[in-house]
């Protein structure tokens, strides 16, 4: 058995390599289309600032973050609505307290609760989003 495999080993090898190339081509094509996709912004917006790049990445969420930063002092407390937005949706990160806390630092970010103190409450609808000052 081993001798037979040995005699035909390089034929087996070439069949396997052909198969391998076939399955890799799919991966290569997918990756290649990704290369082109990832390179697109470089040519479309070569001089984009960090904020503009983050807006491209998080189209509704990051402008909201910038707006909150503009409208609130650095020591403010920001309350996030209790939401369960599916991953990949424009505002999904609103449900991620860690992410919002990171981007709004040094502000304090908390989940909405019944016991709200002074601060700002983030709201959103299908088409708009913003903050309300809590008195």
């Amino acid at each position: 058995m081993v001798n037979k495999i040995s005699r035909y080993s390089h034929y087996i090898l070439w069949i396997l390599i052909t198969f391998l190339i076939f399955i890799r081509v799919k991966s290569i094509l997918v990756s290649s289309s990704n290369f082109i996709k990832t390179l697109e912004p470089i040519f479309q917006h070569p001089f984009a600032t960090t904020d503009e790049k983050l807006t491209m990445k998080y189209p509704r969420y990051y402008p909201l973050i910038q707006e909150i930063k503009r409208l609130t002092p650095e020591d403010a407390t920001i309350y996030l609505p209790i939401v369960n937005i599916e991953y990949g949706q424009p505002l999904w990160a609103l449900g991620q307290i860690q992410m919002t806390q990171t981007l709004l630092y040094p502000r304090t970010v908390k989940k909405y609760s019944e016991e709200l103190t002074d601060g700002y409450l983030v709201f959103y609808t299908d088409t708009t989003q913003g903050i309300i000052k809590l008195e």
């Binding site: 081993v2 495999i5 040995s6 080993s9 390089h10 087996i12 090898l13 396997l16 390599i17 391998l20 399955i23 890799r24 991966s27 290569i28 990756s31 990704n34 290369f35 990832t38 390179l39 912004p41 470089i42 070569p46 960090t50 790049k53 983050l54 990445k57 990160a93 991620q96 860690q98 992410m99 806390q101 990171t102 981007l103 630092y105």
Partner: protein
């Protein structure tokens, strides 16, 4: 290859120096970081001539090889160009690695940055965060290019190591397969720790393989230092254990005691560093042996529970979904290599046993995680990324196996 090794060594040494100097009270500002950079470069200049270089083997020019070289060059440039443009934007990198880096830059202190972030700060070692800090302190708006250079260095060293064993065509083919291995190319363009981890751990293993074959002490030191650095990148995964066991087995069975001492001195401080630091912060010291004993005890206890078989079957399904399916092309290469080994026994058992060991560890680790953590099913992506280091090892085995058919394809 020397430049690529120097870059990876330098990155490790610089972050270690930043960490150590800050612990001793040196503030991490621009001037001090430049001073530490100089302190990193000086020993590297002296070390440079002693580092292994790419073998100079003259070959007849081949069109196919030129095309392959062109593809590798273009893909490397795509990564570097993209990294010059990109910013840190992914969830984990924004909330942990980069957040820590920015707070370190603001406060000049690791301890103060930790106070701001709380216990989440200690989730992973500071390797990537510290080179982010270094880039920001030097005025760069993004540290992404450092990731691109890690990737290019990885390709360079990988090609050179292959080239010492096989012809140019197969070395280039292996390097291209590496570029297209699951996740690697993409991870060269995002600020996660997985690329650096895969780079240091797999190159550590390949340097040790070289050391086994050519007996040069420098490979033992590099192999164990790179393995240690992988723990400085991600400390929770136990895959360094495979490299260490093989290093000790090869060293002890060949009576290479001097190399063992140098290798362990290059490895042990790095392996202990983050664990000791976190333990000191939380006043909780647990040795590696007791951690392993704890895992064994957990598995043994679970084995006598009535839910044992159900949990084991769930783990197998999860493992198949998270590891076997995404890495199917690479695992297929491994199966082909093993089949070929039936007929040609050129390849040492070193890499094959390491790969099998690492796959077993990942399965047992998943099982331990399933026993101990209720949310274990929620991390399939994390497990998949964690195993990125397996592709370089398998592709290496595959290329060496093809070469063992003694056919000079492409030449």
């Amino acid at each position: 290859m020397r430049l690529a090794i120097s870059y990876l060594l330098g990155l490790s040494l610089l972050t270690l120096l930043m960490f150590g100097a800050n612990l001793l009270g040196l503030s991490l500002n621009t001037t001090n970081s430049l001073l530490l950079f100089a302190l990193t470069v000086i020993p590297l200049i002296f070390l440079y001539p002693h580092l292994p270089s790419t073998p100079k083997i003259s070959t007849s020019p081949s069109k196919l090889n030129k095309i392959l070289k062109g593809i590798i060059l273009i893909l490397s440039l795509v990564v570097l160009l993209n990294d010059c443009y990109r910013i840190v934007g992914e969830w984990d990198s924004l909330t942990l690695y980069d957040f820590r880096a920015r707070r370190i830059v603001e406060t000049g202190s690791i301890a103060k940055a930790a106070e701001i972030q709380g216990s989440y700060f200690y989730s992973y070692p500071l390797f990537t965060s510290l080179f982010h800090s270094f880039a920001y302190l030097l005025g760069f708006y993004s540290p992404m290019l450092i990731y691109g250079l890690i990737f290019v260095s990885f390709l360079t060293i990988y090609y050179s190591l292959l080239r010492t064993h096989v012809n140019e065509f197969l070395s280039l083919l292996g390097t291209i397969l590496l570029i297209f291995a699951p996740h690697l190319f993409w991870h060269a363009q995002i600020a996660y720790t997985n690329l650096a981890y895969a780079t240091y751990l797999s190159l550590g293993a390949l340097f040790l393989l070289e050391w086994k074959d050519n007996k040069s002490t420098i490979f033992a030191i590099l192999g164990m230092f790179f393995t240690g650095t992988s723990v400085w990148v991600r400390s929770t995964e136990p895959f360094w254990l495979g490299n260490l066991i093989l290093f000790l087995v090869v060293g002890l069975s060949n009576f290479r005691f001097k190399d063992i001492i140098y290798g362990l001195l290059s490895f042990y401080p790095l392996q202990q560093l983050w664990k000791r630091y976190v333990a000191a912060m939380f006043h909780n010291v647990e040795s590696t042996v007791s951690q392993i004993q704890g895992s064994v005890a957990t598995v043994a206890t679970a084995a006598i529970q009535p839910t044992f078989l159900q949990l084991l079957s769930d783990t197998i399904v999860f493992f198949t979904h998270s590891i076997v399916r995404p890495y199917a092309p690479v695992l297929l290469l491994f199966a082909i290599s093993l089949l070929m080994q039936l007929t040609k026994r050129r390849l040492s058992l070193f890499l094959i046993s390491l790969i099998i060991f690492d796959l077993l560890v990942s399965f047992i680790g998943t099982y331990v995680f399933a026993i101990t953590q209720s949310y274990w099913r929620e991390i399939p992506g994390s497990l998949e990324r964690m195993m990125m280091f397996i592709s370089p090892l398998i592709i290496y085995v595959f290329i060496i196996t093809i070469d063992s058919t003694k056919k000079n394809y492409g030449q």
